[in-house]
Symmetry: C2
Amino acid sequence: MSEHAETLRHAEIERIRQLLVAERSDQLVERLSDLHASDVADIVEHLDEDERRCLMEVLPAEVASEALSEMEDEESPGELLASLPPDTIAAVVEELADDDAADLIGELEDEDRERVLESVVAPEEIRELLEFPEDSAGGIMTREIVSVPLGFTASQARARYRQFAADAEDLYTIFVVDPEGRLRGLITLRDLMMESPGSAVAEFLQQPLAVADVNMDQEEAVRLLSRYNVPSVPVVDDRGELLGCITFDDALDIVEAEGTEDMLRFASVSEEEGLRAGAVSAVKSRLPWLAVNAATLSAAAFVVWFYEDTIAQLAVLAAAMPVIAGLGGNAGTQALAVTIRRIALAHESPSERWGAVAKELLVGVVNGFLIGALVAVVALALPSTGPAFGAVVMVAMWVNLVVASTLGAFFPIVLERLGIDPAVASSIFVTTFTDLLGFLLLLGLATRFLI
Amino acid sequence: MSEHAETLRHAEIERIRQLLVAERSDQLVERLSDLHASDVADIVEHLDEDERRCLMEVLPAEVASEALSEMEDEESPGELLASLPPDTIAAVVEELADDDAADLIGELEDEDRERVLESVVAPEEIRELLEFPEDSAGGIMTREIVSVPLGFTASQARARYRQFAADAEDLYTIFVVDPEGRLRGLITLRDLMMESPGSAVAEFLQQPLAVADVNMDQEEAVRLLSRYNVPSVPVVDDRGELLGCITFDDALDIVEAEGTEDMLRFASVSEEEGLRAGAVSAVKSRLPWLAVNAATLSAAAFVVWFYEDTIAQLAVLAAAMPVIAGLGGNAGTQALAVTIRRIALAHESPSERWGAVAKELLVGVVNGFLIGALVAVVALALPSTGPAFGAVVMVAMWVNLVVASTLGAFFPIVLERLGIDPAVASSIFVTTFTDLLGFLLLLGLATRFLI
């Protein structure tokens, strides 16, 4: 955002604050009703708790609900909702899309969740959505779709669309179901417009390019959407019954969130820490991983301590330690990052994945040799060292980079096979292992050949 | 993919190979025409160069072009296209969406690019798209849109839509332009269906929620789409003339690619290395960064070397080195990952960004104190150390974590202000700096208080 836009927005937020204090709800409503929900959400995020609550009570339920569903932070919209009086909650939830309502309510503690659901007019629909795991196709789908029976004509389908489109989340697809509610095909809005009124839906329906099972992992379901370039993917249960659909706008949010999740987990930050979390959440999210790393690094420290006498005799080895460990960590991190994203995105078979390990082994052999040679030459230039010292540094570096690179591909693939997210703190384990191995090689070889 | 699905696909690819060898092009066409382009692309990616070329010449241009545009690897579809005979190139490019054609051709070397463009029937349209920077709104937009003049009625607009929708990339939006070609609004397909035939477009058009400037960065343009939940964003030049639009399917691909780019750059892998790149590209992409890191780590090694005498007298210090450096690197990496994604995704002002630095400082103070105390207690348990050793370790750890955490937020924000991608190899610089500082603190304090 430019400085100019920032100043403007700052002024706008100040103005909203003044109107809140002055209780000028008419002006507030007028000002905010013209904005897009995302912009209202942005303003809400800059108010404090009391101000947020006041504003929500003043705004029409339609505007308030849209702003809630567009807030970027994951937790606060639910908490804000729970803090409102029961009839405001009822009005706001009524206006929300069912999947957005379930997302907000799903983030709440059990007690708040029950209280909110008690205020809602039709809690059953939301309860049903809450039963699906949050990160499954069922957890992200909307039930607000337009569907027509197989026996309809184009003009009947058009009438049904006109009737329900205002409430539907996916405005571009009409689903076709049989009397048992099973998905039989779909009609695009374009086809519906092109067909003559009397055409039978059964004649011009299309087979969906992709269908998600309700229990499918959300990442997999979203990948169907991006793979087949469709605006939505229908979600069915194991009997083929149509339950809802996943829309492109939710898919975009999920792909963005998955990118962030991969990166944070990779860097050993818990996924619970939102990008704009405060210091307390950040401490809670990161401290456990630092403690885990302190424990794993103790193993590396133990190796060094074991060779204390060698270091006392040839202290220049201590200077080589960070170079060998650091470059091993770097090479391992490179292989990890590529492999984690490859697992996340590429459409690959297990055998192709093992090919990735072989590739990284080769990369480690080449890069390890070249970097090992480079560092050995620099080491030789130091006073008080000789060719044997250079050779030890070279070999330790080479072997460490080969193992680091291979492990960087191997480790996430194994984690994934075990059903663990391959990104989880994998950089801690790989870099600690390369520290440990690097020290063992450097100090072990030095003890044998240099002392 | 399950083992079962893998076996099936393997069999399918083998069958395609046999048909290619037997030159049974009729059967090939029949088998592949029924598949979705993404599935054909998947098969093509598993063939070798000669097989790919044969297959492309046999397939109808429509199928071949769709498969090319769905291939996941960035470089090979362009190269495959360039390897085809001139009239096949012409037929395939004719069928491609203009933005996909420009993407493929844009990846080629100058010489190949000219040769391909010479074979194309209407190279001007593609040349125009090629003039926009690859990562700008202009570089990712399609020009294949449906637009109607401001003076049309609903029924005229419907007729225009029927005429052009088959070629349009965004099937859900009709753009409205004035006689100078400037964007004046849009009509959704839903509105077009709902309105009575005689309604004037000028009466029921909507103002677009978001419009991208042709020079806007692609990330920013795509964020408009995800922010406003629209299936496409119109792209205009500085006179407001409508040039094209960016569609949700391209947006999904870009969001995915940006997540990968952030992660790879963060881990010091060049963005040119595709996720499925071979060993040669991987070596080329990573070696330069390893060499840079070797140079930065030399600075850390120099610090250690400077304190050679201290280490020779108290070799247990060498065991504390990796723990202090490693945890500093870890804390810095955590702060970096959060800040890089925050810059990439959050809608924030510069002053809010500086707030992130203050937050990380606080996180570093708390986590540094706790982890410092933990490590000091462990250090005290070692034989041959005393309270003074524990205190030195504690202070070095604490200060290092405070600086690491703060720098992890500060560094990417400064890079972004300087117009440099904040993710670029930032982990190398932050971890090397924390290595260096950690050693300086540990060995400097030890020299002063322990020797």
